[in-house]
């Protein structure tokens, strides 16, 4: 172990940690607003990466059919749930959101994909294909359960995760894919070489965190989300549509997940089932942050990335064990520090 190796490991840890940080943020966001522990977050990473990789080779990704299917399911669920209060305007809006939108995205993808429009448009298209799946999932699986206990929501989330892994195998196949990066540049700082893609990841993570901060502090939607997170009933009393908050939280989580996927696709090979482990590490970070604090979760994610990178150097056979063991002292410390609070249900 010398200074060069140390630097490379830290760099590797920070880049991986940045991805975990994005996932941890969206886990905290979804949990705060809807109380759902969003296990399928990792699947959005895998879907985003594989969709982007398919577009990168000029193919129409299989995920567009999943998007259309989920949209239809969301439409049926939405109509059923609102069957007593349905107006012509609401119906039109629902059909536009859940049937016309996926069809339009699919048509666009089918038109654009064979023309290989370059990484930026491909990345945006991948985001457009994967992101709407999250609000559709919310409508299909979680909206009807919105008032259920955390445990019931967790079980529903595990079910959604299993279904999405299975569908991933159907739509993307068992083999992994890799994509072209946003940048092939390799920068050298003395003995340390930094890939352009790594800078993109860290840079976009920082930008996204800033944007989220702005969103929560300064926009009406952001404030409504925070209000829902603080007190669901109170938020409803002051006229915030809490179901709408859920949809927004899921949309954000889906977009962040898909973006993480697009970012890591050029760095590593992604498989239909890669997402779970990546998501779990984001979850570890979110837990360290107490599932409540965004800055704590982001810092914890960087820590998880660095622990992972160093343990893969020192004891690669025990890497996952070491990474997930990090959570134990934190839980101990938290339980000692805070007085016992009964779960508020």
């Amino acid at each position: 172990m010398d200074a060069t190796i140390l630097l490379i490991l830290v760099q590797d840890g920070v880049v991986n940690g940045a991805i975990y940080a994005l996932l941890a943020l969206s886990l905290v966001l979804v949990f705060a607003v809807t109380r759902v522990i969003f296990i399928p977050q990792g699947e959005f990473v895998a879907y985003g990466a594989l969709t982007y990789a398919a577009l990168d080779t000029g193919q129409l990704p299989g995920s567009v059919w999943l998007l259309c299917g989920l949209g239809l399911a969301a439409c049926v669920c939405g109509l059923w749930q609102q069957r007593r209060t349905l107006t012509a305007g609401a119906t039109t809006r629902l059909v536009l959101q859940t049937v016309v939108l996926p069809a339009a995205i699919t048509a666009l993808a089918a038109f654009v994909a064979p023309r290989k429009p370059g990484v930026l448009i491909e990345a945006l298209l991948a985001l457009a294909i994967v992101t709407p799946m999250a609000p559709y999932l919310y409508r299909v699986a979680f909206q009807a359960l919105a008032e259920a206990s955390v445990l019931v929501l967790l079980i529903a989330a595990v079910g959604v995760h299993l279904a999405m892994v299975g569908l991933g195998l159907v739509f993307f196949g068992p083999e992994g894919s890799r994509a072209t990066g946003f940048s092939d540049a390799v920068l050298s700082f003395g003995a340390l070489t930094v890939q352009g893609q790594a800078l993109w990841i860290v840079g976009l993570t920082v930008v996204l965190m800033g944007a989220l901060y702005g969103f929560f502090e300064f926009t009406l939607f952001g404030k409504a989300l925070r209000a829902t997170a603080v007190n669901r009933l109170g938020a409803r009393l002051v006229g915030i549509a809490t179901a709408q908050s859920g949809v927004i939280a899921f949309t954000l989580a889906g977009a962040i997940g898909a973006l993480s996927g697009v970012l890591i696709a050029p760095l590593t090979t992604v498989y239909y089932d890669t997402g779970f482990l990546v998501g779990l590490k984001g979850f570890t970070a979110a837990i360290i942050g107490g599932l409540a604090s965004y800055p704590a979760a982001a810092l914890a994610a960087i820590l998880v990335g660095i622990v992972e990178s160093f343990s893969s150097f020192w004891a690669s056979a025990f890497k996952e064990v070491i990474v997930f063991t990090v959570i134990i002292p934190v839980l101990l410390w938290r339980s000692l520090r805070s007085t016992a609070v009964e779960e508020d249900e």
Partner: protein, 385 residues
Amino acid sequence: MSRFRATLIMSALAAGLAAAPAMADTIRVGVTISTTGPAASLGIPQRNSIALLPKEIAGQAVEYVVLDDGADTTKAVANTRKLIDEEKVDVIIGSSTTPASMAMIDVAAEKQIPMISLAASSRLIAPMDAARRWVFKTPQNDSLMADAIADHMQKNGVKTVGFIGFNDAYGDGWVGEFTRAAKERNLTIVGLERYARTDTSVTGQVLKLMAAKPDVVLIAASGTPAALPQKTLKERGYAGTIYQTHGIANNDFLRVGGKDVEGTILPAGPILVAAQLPDSNPIKKQALEYITRYEAANGPGSVATFGAHAYDAAILLSAAVPAAVQKAKPGTAAFHAALRDAMEAQQNLVLTHGIANMTPQDHNGFDQRARVMVTIQGGAWKLLP
């Protein structure tokens, strides 16, 4: 779970009068393979190969019952029990991975049903004992492949080897076999690193390996995840030769690996480079026939060597059934025992992966003809002389 039942009953016309009395005795073949889960890249080509298998052997109709075990040992055992107890199968093919196959041995032995595994480890059939009497396997033993790699290293003057392998049964098997093979040839293993199939970065492991300055690196992993350490090694400027195992032998590896995997050396079943084999090699004809049939059904370039193990299991079965039906009717315990004996008696059986000579001690029967050394050149597999 995905359950695909291919039922084909011989038509009365085709059967003819002579075979008519035997028609009622359909031979039932139970298949449990990993078409989902972490070994799906092995299980899916195997399932596609099952569709190519003969629907009639020696005048007997053959019926296949295919189940998916998701590479889960518990599920594989449950499937085995279900196939034997409910489906009344005469022989079992599967599973795709070593741990799942290992767990199935006891059930097959308990019920006295012959089993043909599609997994690699030699531990499945050695040391031979009362339970393993019922187990056969068509893929090459990993020891055969480990010897081939170590031989090639020795011939090329290699002294030190860095090893990075999967953190699972596949990696464990290779650590054991390669440590033995290297010791016999005075090769020193200077670094031993592990990683997981789903890892997104192996920078730590690669840095540690490179700090040990090995002459060559051996990557013991299967399918496309094997490309990650190789890409990282190239990225960090490693200049030595990189060896891989036969677990990477499908076209997806070339697609994902791209130019970073040029010059890789690996042992593989001859089917991988079937078209480049000399015409005098009997394996060539068998292997090309499989490739033609598989690609006709699944599209050009779709063939993977893993699927051929399932095809080989059927060749072994087809060769053994005629002797067994002479002795007993399908569905009886006597038939199961006769089938086992007939499989054990096979000599010079040409499969797509090699030529098998079974003995009571060796239920794989492959020799050095079942492996060739291959390199990657210009994005394609090339046979090394």
